[in-house]
């Protein structure tokens, strides 16, 4: 058992334990700060890693990546602002719970689900690494496209009251995503001859703009028009609202476990990332849910699914990183850099040459999960209560200022800050017009990758679109997506018939699209 050897190595070195604890804290804080990715901080620490043994540096980075994914959920739940793109799905149900004064409960569900997802992901990595490596080699653009198509289905569940407005939001999101140089042909699209737009519109500034700044504008609006601000409109919390009982979590458990496997599978495909995993898991579980009417309004399962899935990506995504040298994120790329600096060649033979190091790294991962789980579980109630106590005329100005520095820090680009500002207004107008900001952002996140993988798949294919039928994994995801759409259509049809029956009896034929 290599993993036991790994544990022995790690546990016998107190400094590694310190590094893990430190990384858990740093990761949670960075993840919880909207728009701030750990990459900037880590890149700065990179020179330090030249001089310490590789395991220290690797453990530190690996654990930051894990706890950062969890930390993102904190901001998503408390401020309706995903701390990282991975937690954009968490806010769909997390924020309504915070509004109901149940932020503490929501944070605990997020913690428990992240821990479950992350652990399952790591177990897949530890025990299945050989098979996963074989599988990862065979997956290419067709599978990517199938998964993107599947992830698009999630938009159906966030589309809101009006189908037309939901579709409009979604199309607008795709249009914005198309701005910039097309990665397949290299041609400029929708750049209007602006050099700055050639690089496209960044995900981070758009998210901060739409969710954070848009929210500040909306809060300003409601403060000035005499309404209560959302965070403080609630009755004082009872102790029960920040507790989580086993009875409450029990229905979430199967959701979290299934989502962990979804996330794990997506993790094997580098580049898709945690955000896609979270959306796919949310869509899949929404389809299966026994209480679909509560989803989007504060269902605990609606937090469990994306949080478990986005953390389950962490472990399996190490396989393509280590065996194929394809990093799934900037942190992944830096992690690769650390291997190289220490003269460890990444590639198919890595598991033969550096087996002990790799399994020690996996052991630190499991310890890191334990660490951020403790922080999350015992800290979340406290953080939730603390935030509720800060008056809104302090917290919203601070969120406003944070939005700017976060948009800048991401790529040291003032243009990004400008983009963030513009999308703040876009977010505000969309809220006013009752357009779906979630549909907009999800479409934005997925569109570029979906188009790219579709076109790559067709370039690689001798049989045109038939290539998707030659690939079992791709077919599986298409089937899941179609099943999900079909089920949803059936649900809508059923509701409509019920409504029609109701209308007949009351004699009212008014209907909005």
């Amino acid at each position: 058992m290599d993993i036991l050897v790994g544990f022995a190595t790690v546990l016998s070195d107190p400094w590694i334990l310190v590094a893990i604890a430190l990384a858990s804290i740093v990761g949670v804080v960075i993840g919880a700060t909207p728009g701030l990715t750990a990459a900037a901080a880590i890149a700065m620490l990179l020179p330090v890693t030249y001089h310490v043994p590789p395991l220290y540096a690797l453990a530190f980075l690996y654990v930051i990546g894990k706890s950062g994914r969890f930390g993102g959920s904190i901001a998503a739940i408390l401020f309706n602002t995903p701390g990282t793109s991975a937690s954009a799905a968490t806010q769909l149900d997390g924020y309504p719970l915070a509004v109901q004064g149940k932020a503490g409960k929501a944070l605990k569900v997020a913690t428990v689900s992240s821990v479950i997802g992350d652990t399952i992901g790591d177990l897949i990595l530890i025990f299945g690494v050989a098979y996963v490596a074989q599988l990862a080699l065979k997956l290419g653009p067709p599978e990517y496209f199938a998964i993107y198509a599947m992830a698009f289905v999630v938009i159906g569940s966030v589309i809101g009251k009006s189908m037309l407005k939901g579709l409009a939001s979604c199309l607008l999101g795709i249009l914005v995503a198309l701005i910039g140089l097309d990665s397949v042909s290299g041609y400029a699209r929708f750049t209007f001859d602006s050099f700055q737009l050639m690089n496209g519109i960044g995900l981070v500034p758009v998210m901060i703009g739409i969710f954070v700044l848009g929210e500040v504008f909306a809060q300003m609006d409601s403060m000035k028009s005499g309404q209560d601000t959302v965070l403080h409109s609630t009755a004082p919390q009872s102790a029960e609202d920040s507790q989580l009982s086993w009875m409450e979590y029990r229905p979430c458990l199967p959701v979290a476990i299934r989502s962990a496997f979804t996330g794990g599978l997506i993790g094997m495909l580098p580049g898709l990332g945690s955000a896609v995993a979270a959306f796919v898991a949310y869509a899949t579980e929404f389809r299966r849910a026994r209480n679909p009417e509560q989803w989007g309004k504060g269902a605990l399962e609606g937090i469990a699914a994306p949080e478990s899935a986005n953390n389950a990506v962490s472990g399996p995504s190490m396989v393509p990183l280590l065996t194929l040298g394809v990093p799934g994120s900037t942190i992944g790329a830096i992690l690769m850099g650390v291997f190289l600096i220490h003269g460890i060649e990444i590639g198919p033979t890595l598991f033969l040459t550096s087996r002990e190091l790799i399994f020690s790294l996996f052991a630190t991962g499991l310890l890191g999960i334990f660490c951020y789980g403790l922080i999350g579980y015992f800290g979340s109630g406290f953080v939730g209560r603390l935030i509720m106590r800060v008056p809104p005329n302090i917290i919203y100005p601070m969120i406003f200022l944070t939005a700017f520095v976060a948009a800048y820090a991401n790529r040291s680009s003032l243009f990004d800050v400008l983009v963030m500002c513009v999308f703040g207004l876009v977010g505000y107008v969309m809220r006013k017009l009752e357009l779906s900001t979630a549909a907009f952002v999800i479409a934005f996140v997925l569109a570029r990758g979906a188009e790219e993988s579709l076109r790559q798949a067709l370039l690689l294919s001798d049989s045109g679109a038939l290539v998707f039928f030659e690939r079992p994994v791709a077919l599986l995801f298409f089937a899941l997506g179609l099943g999900s759409v079909g089920y949803r259509m059936y649900g809508l049809y059923r509701d409509k018939r019920k409504a029609a029956a109701l209308h007949k009896t009351t004699g009212n034929a008014g209907e909005s699209c």
Partner: protein, 159 residues
């Protein structure tokens, strides 16, 4: 769901769709055997125009709402616009003065907009906020501090 919000969404979507459709004509045609860079932009623009027509068509059928401007509140909008203007000005200030000075000014203004009126308190909060952000991001995380194009304090302080 008011007629107004449908109308405005329809008009907005239509205008954006038309601009996008026009802009996508400039994208080079694909090489034979490829989907090409043009297909998606054109398809999406066309779909948006279609949706816009449907929205306007449906708005016609909707009953006019009791409060005709419920989708656009009145006095509070001014404050939102002020805040947005502040945001854009802030970006310009960072460019001209560097992060620290710009944030000092912008944080004073934003606290003012959110209803803090006592000068001492206002200034204290602005200084504290600026110091906190500067220490956390530029010193702690080592983010690159853009030198102001008009006034670069750090260059002057180091001399």
């Amino acid at each position: 769901m008011s007629r107004g919000s449908y109308c405005w969404t329809g008009i907005l979507a239509g205008v954006i769709g038309l601009i996008a459709l026009w802009a996508s004509t400039g994208i080079p045609d694909p090489v034979a055997g490829e989907i090409g860079a043009k297909l998606f932009p054109q398809a999406v623009s066309a779909a948006l125009i279609l949706i816009s027509t449907l929205l306007l068509w449906n708005a016609r059928r909707l009953p006019a709402s009791d409060a005709p401007r419920d989708w656009m509140p009145q006095s509070s909008t001014l404050h939102v616009l002020l805040l947005a203007t502040l945001g854009l000005t802030y970006v310009g200030l960072i460019e001209a003065l560097g992060y620290a000075l710009a944030t000092l000014i912008a944080s004073t203004a934003v606290f003012l907009l959110f209803g803090h009126r006592r000068p001492q308190r206002l200034l204290l909060m602005a200084v504290l906020a600026t110091a906190a952000y500067y220490l956390c991001f530029f010193v702690g995380l080592g983010v690159y501090d853009p030198p102001g194009s008009v006034l670069d304090i750090r260059a002057l302080l180091s001399n």
